[in-house]
């Protein structure tokens, strides 16, 4: 070992004199420079490289920092990113001098928010300066520091001798959009906890900050409710093996919090609720065939007070279980045929003077539901139909645009009415096709619609959606990554970052980095990773 230590610099010097290593070295640096994902807003790097040794390098709280060892978010992140940078224990045995001795993490605001939750208003900006002997990461709060730690870990690269290097770098970074989400659907197929956690991990690697949990739908109700246990008891695929217990949900929320990710649950009504009906009697509308009930059920029955009593109790629970300020209330794809068939509903329509316009009945339901949820002091998100049908919405409502046709027009209308909006229409990742479809997702410009500057400001972000009809634990992760990474960069980096060729090179390396970190991210095209996926 001693000889190796002594001799290594000598071999290196000789090699440099001969020129071949030098060439290789420069190429490596260039490669490294382009492998950040998503690319920071401001970024300057020089060819000067520093070595990092796992034996002596440390991630520490800066003296001036308002956060200290009691900040569990940062303590956990330090350990996580140390492991990402230096790999497994085996490779940590390498011993050499460290040029860079530490990364100081400096939280500048009085409240580092270590015990809170990230929100729509969270400041995720950070500044990172890598220079001898210390690197400094400056952020207003712990959330910005998490983003900076991810960037720092992406700057470190291994040379051909296995040593870790980082170049002299200055970064000033902040997200272009505040809401950068991933939607997973745990109803069409149950997703084991492990899969959800792994994808939260991958989300953090891509600076996503919202997990939109489409937790229940027609097919199954895996959310275990404390108030209404029959919902999952009778509505899940299996009452014990295919459910999320309260402690599972808690674990997801905490795991996400540790990574600066908000968890927004979606309880979609009045449509998409078939599984709800298994556990709650009389919640759904009985459909009729001629003059008698056909035995099938439609959307939530909007004419019974019991439906609203149930929703009041249910959302009271949801508002305490999920800490985020927003709940997604769905409101999409309501099928009117069952309502139309039901004589009681027909009578109600006449009483209310709705004529034959069933979207008025839908609005009637949604309006009452929104009032119920507003009483829990939560904000809400809804799918675009709710806005389209003219339901009166609270000012802070977020409208999610998902329909691919007339997307620009919809954005124009929603923002024209003064509502904030997020875009998911171009990013339905469950639609697969042969080839490099990530490029299509990458080329989307969310603000490319006619409207004033004030309107554009109302677009607060977007979501990549992986609906579950054809997706479960077997194929979810490789189907999502690195295709969702394209969306991640679009939502984080500057508008001017649009070079697909440059993105390809960085993304190919970023996917190898995810593979190295244990995420089975599929290949972009022909090629290889130094460390291939070893799971299976």
């Amino acid at each position: 070992m001693y000889c190796l230590l002594k001799c290594a610099p000598l071999i290196l010097a000789v090699a440099v004199c001969h020129g071949w290593l030098f060439g290789d070295f420069v190429r490596k640096q260039e490669l490294n420079e382009i492998s950040l994902w998503p690319i920071p807003q401001k970024f300057q790097s020089s060819a000067v490289a520093f070595k990092l040794s796992p034996a002596s390098f440390q991630i520490v709280h800066a003296k001036q920092s308002s956060a200290g060892p009691s900040c569990s978010i940062l303590e956990n992140a330090f350990r996580r990113y140390f492991e990402y940078v230096f790999g497994d224990l085996k490779s940590r045995k390498k011993v050499y001098d460290s040029d860079l001795v530490e990364l100081q993490v400096w939280i500048t605001s009085a409240d580092p928010e270590c015990d809170g939750y990230p929100s729509l208003q969270t400041d995720e900006s950070y500044e990172l300066s890598v220079d001898e002997p210390s690197a400094v990461l400056k952020a207003a709060n712990a959330w910005g520091a998490l983003r900076g730690l991810e960037t720092f870990s992406q700057l470190v690269y291994e040379d051909d001798y296995g040593a870790n290097n980082i170049n002299k770098t200055e970064i000033s970074d902040f997200p272009r959009f505040a809401h950068r989400g991933i939607l997973l659907d745990s109803s069409r197929h149950f997703l084991p906890l492990k899969v959800i956690l792994a994808n939260l991990e991958a989300m953090a690697m891509n600076k996503f900050n919202v997990f939109h949990w489409h937790i229940v739908d027609d097919q199954s109700f895996p959310y275990m409710s404390r108030t209404f246990p029959d919902l999952s008891q009778k509505g899940a695929y299996h009452p014990f093996t295919h459910v999320y217990t309260p402690s599972d949900v808690k674990m997801v929320i905490e795991f996400a919090r540790m990574r600066g990710i908000r968890v927004i649950p979606e309880f979609d009504t009045p449509g998409h609720t078939r599984s709800w009906g298994n556990g709650i009697k009389d919640l759904l509308t009985p459909c009729y065939s001629g003059s008698s009930p056909s035995g099938t059920f439609g959307p939530v029955n909007p004419i019974l007070n019991s439906s609203y009593d149930f929703m009041t109790e249910f959302f009271k629970e949801i508002s305490t279980v999920f800490p985020d300020a927003y709940i997604h209330l769905g409101g999409d794809e309501v099928d009117f045929s069952c309502w139309k068939s039901n004589p009681d509903i027909q009578k109600f329509m006449v009483q209310q003077g709705f004529g034959t316009d069933y979207s008025k009945l839908e609005s009637f339901y949604v309006q009452r539901l929104l009032d119920i949820v507003a009483a829990t002091k939560k904000g809400y998100m809804v799918w675009q139909e709710v806005f389209d049908n003219g339901v009166k919405l609270k000012d802070d409502t977020v409208v999610e645009v998902w329909m691919g046709n007339k997307m620009e027009e919809e954005l124009q209308n929603v923002t024209g009415a003064g509502f904030t909006t997020i875009l998911s229409a171009p990013w339905y990742l469950d639609y697969i096709s042969y080839g490099q479809d990530w490029q299509r997702y990458y080329k989307v410009e969310p603000l490319n619609f006619p409207g004033t500057d004030a309107q554009k400001k109302l677009v607060i972000g977007g979501e990549a959606c992986l609906w579950g009809e054809y997706v479960d634990a077997t194929n979810l992760t490789p189907r999502l990554w690195p295709r969702a990474s394209a969306v991640a960069e679009r939502l984080w980096s500057d508008k001017s970052v649009t070079d697909v060729g440059n993105a390809y090179n960085r993304l190919a390396q970023h996917r190898c980095r995810m593979v190295k970190r244990g995420i089975p991210a599929e290949p972009l095209f022909v090629g290889h990773c130094r460390q291939e996926y070893m799971g299976l």
């Binding site: 069409r188 197929h189 149950f190 084991p192 492990k194 899969v195 792994a198 097919q219 199954s220 695929y237 299996h238 093996t241 295919h242 469950d430 639609y431 697969i432 096709s433 042969y434 080839g435 579950g468 009809e469 054809y470 997706v471 479960d472 634990a473 077997t474 194929n475 992760t477 490789p478 189907r479 593979v515 244990g518 995420i519 089975p520 991210a521 599929e522 290949p523 972009l524 095209f525 022909v526 090629g527 290889h528 130094r530 291939e532 996926y533 070893m534 799971g535 299976l536």
Partner: protein
């Protein structure tokens, strides 16, 4: 809660009786299957596989001893005799194109009897047997009274993996072989090298992988890796047919073998890039002879795939030496010459060779890969008297939204205009191809399974009984859950769930 208990019990009974209806769910569907609702319970403590008294194979038969062990733990995963009778020996051999894979399985009270001519047939029967066993909600094992007479419709039921566009770690290949056996595939077509990389570590020409692999140590198949693949396959009755594709698709070969590839010209000067193998120099043929001699030695199967697809003529045409050579020699000698190195072997080539060359040895097997006109091609090739493999409709690397397995399932390999039934008989089978442009160890398995199962049934079962995809759907859905239970990462067909969900990532 006092009242709910009996209600629940009632429900279970209903479930059980529905379940009994469904146990004919063998995939691919056996040729003849008679089943009654009479069921026998199986006790893992008392059940065992034994060799029949009249069986030619007895204890010591490596293939079956290993298979008994394998299928016992597949049937009873929570633990670690029926009777097997094999007419001929052959436990230490390899399956080949003439292997008889037929078997008869009779399950009656107290015992089950599996009869087959060869050990390979016994393997197929064991697979069917394992799929007949089911568990009730209390964990007891059952099998219904069943009579099966079964044999494959086509002798060649292959699956192609491409280890050049992306390197596939050994365990990914072995896992694929496991899953192949579950669907009764019997040929692993190993597209081992191609333009992007040369992972086969040659004993004769080590530089091919030293310089042509993605990485000379971590991204190669050593000789012992190859042996392991061949033995793992043999144990499952699967042939391993390697493909060393030339003269095109050989960019990676050029790195380790100087002067093998044709230098392309730009005007009068070499452009610095290279094209297909240079057919004009003797060194090429000497090299190919030595390499193929090695391949013949390493891979025991009597077939070898010589490729021959998508040769770009632009580079050849640009090169003055090649132009002169072509005038001198005429066209199309290259393949005949290549094949001459394989005197005792049967070669498979891609359809291009047939399309562009006049003279091809009669025993060469042609593989159809071009999608648009495969029926016409089937017609032409069989008319010319060649044996044919169909893979065009089964390029399952092409993915799309939804249930594309139905397209694979709807394929009718013998539905083409041909004058003689002899022509139809020349279709010896087909292959599912998983090309590697967008596939590596991260996504290979869910992309293969259960999509490849559709072709597996088309190639094994009676077409008349299996043309309705809607009828196949519940059986395939159940089979994919069975694959999950056996640890194969098979993706869902549509919404729903399995009792045992995939437990990995």
């Amino acid at each position: 809660t006092i009242f709910s208990a009996p209600v629940r019990a009632c429900l279970l009974l209903v479930v059980v009786s529905v379940w009994v209806q469904q146990v004919d769910g063998v995939w691919p569907l056996p040729q003849q299957l008679d089943q009654s609702a009479d069921r026998n319970s199986l006790s893992p403590q008392r059940f065992s596989f034994t060799y029949g008294r009249d069986s030619a194979a007895q204890t010591g038969c490596s293939v079956l001893d290993a298979a008994f062990k394998r299928y016992f733990s597949i049937i009873f995963p929570d633990f670690t005799k029926g009777s097997v009778s094999v007419k001929t020996r052959g436990c230490d051999g390899y399956p080949d194109e003439d292997s008889d894979e037929s078997y008869n399985l009779s399950v009656s009270e107290g015992q089950a009897v599996l009869r087959s001519v060869t050990v390979w047939g016994a393997l197929r029967g064991l697979e069917s047997f394992s799929q007949l066993v089911y568990q009730d909600d209390y964990g007891s094992y059952f099998i219904n009274k069943t009579e099966i007479v079964d044999f494959p419709r086509f002798a060649f039921r292959g699956l192609l993996l491409d280890t050049s566009r992306h390197y596939l770690p050994l365990h990914a290949i072995l896992k694929t072989l496991d899953a192949m056996a579950y669907s009764k595939f019997n040929v692993f077509h190993w597209h081992i090298v191609d333009d992007p990389s040369f992972p086969y570590q040659s004993r004769t020409f080590p530089d091919l992988s030293n310089k042509g692999a993605f990485h000379p140590f971590t991204h190669v198949y050593t000789q012992s890796d190859v042996m392991r693949v061949i033995e793992h396959a043999r144990m499952r009755g699967i042939r391993v047919i390697p493909e060393f594709d030339s003269p095109g698709h050989t960019q990676s070969w050029g790195k380790g073998q100087p002067n093998l590839l044709t230098p392309c010209y730009k005007g009068d000067v070499p452009s610095g890039s290279f094209g297909p193998v240079d057919p004009t120099v003797d060194t090429t043929y000497k090299f190919m002879e030595s390499l193929l001699k090695e391949v013949k030695f390493v891979f025991p199967d009597s077939y070898v795939h010589l490729g021959g697809d998508e040769v770009s003529f632009a580079c050849w045409q640009s090169n003055p030496n090649v132009r002169t050579f072509m005038e001198k020699m005429g066209f199309g000698k290259d393949f005949t010459k290549l094949e001459s190195f394989y005197m005792e072997r049967t070669s498979i080539v891609w359809q291009d060779v047939f399309d562009y060359h006049e003279r091809i040895p009669q025993d060469t097997v042609l593989e159809i890969w071009k999608g648009e006109t495969y029926q016409a091609e089937l017609s032409r090739m069989t008319k010319a008297g060649h044996r044919v493999l169909l893979s065009a409709p089964w390029y399952i690397n092409h993915i799309s939204y939804g249930q594309d397995w139905r397209n694979s399932y709807a394929v009718q390999p013998q539905n083409f205009s041909g004058v003689w039934s002899k022509q139809k008989k020349l279709v010896i089978g087909g292959e599912v191809a998983m090309w590697g442009e967008y596939v590596d160890a991260t996504n290979l398995n869910p992309r293969l399974w259960p999509r490849a199962c559709a072709a597996a049934e088309r190639l094994w079962s009676d077409e008349e009984k299996t043309l309705n995809a809607d009828l196949a759907f519940p059986r395939l859905e159940k089979f994919r859950c069975e694959l999950l239970r056996r640890g194969i990462q098979a993706e869902p067909l549509f919404v729903g769930h399995c009792k045992h969900e995939y437990d990995g990532l």
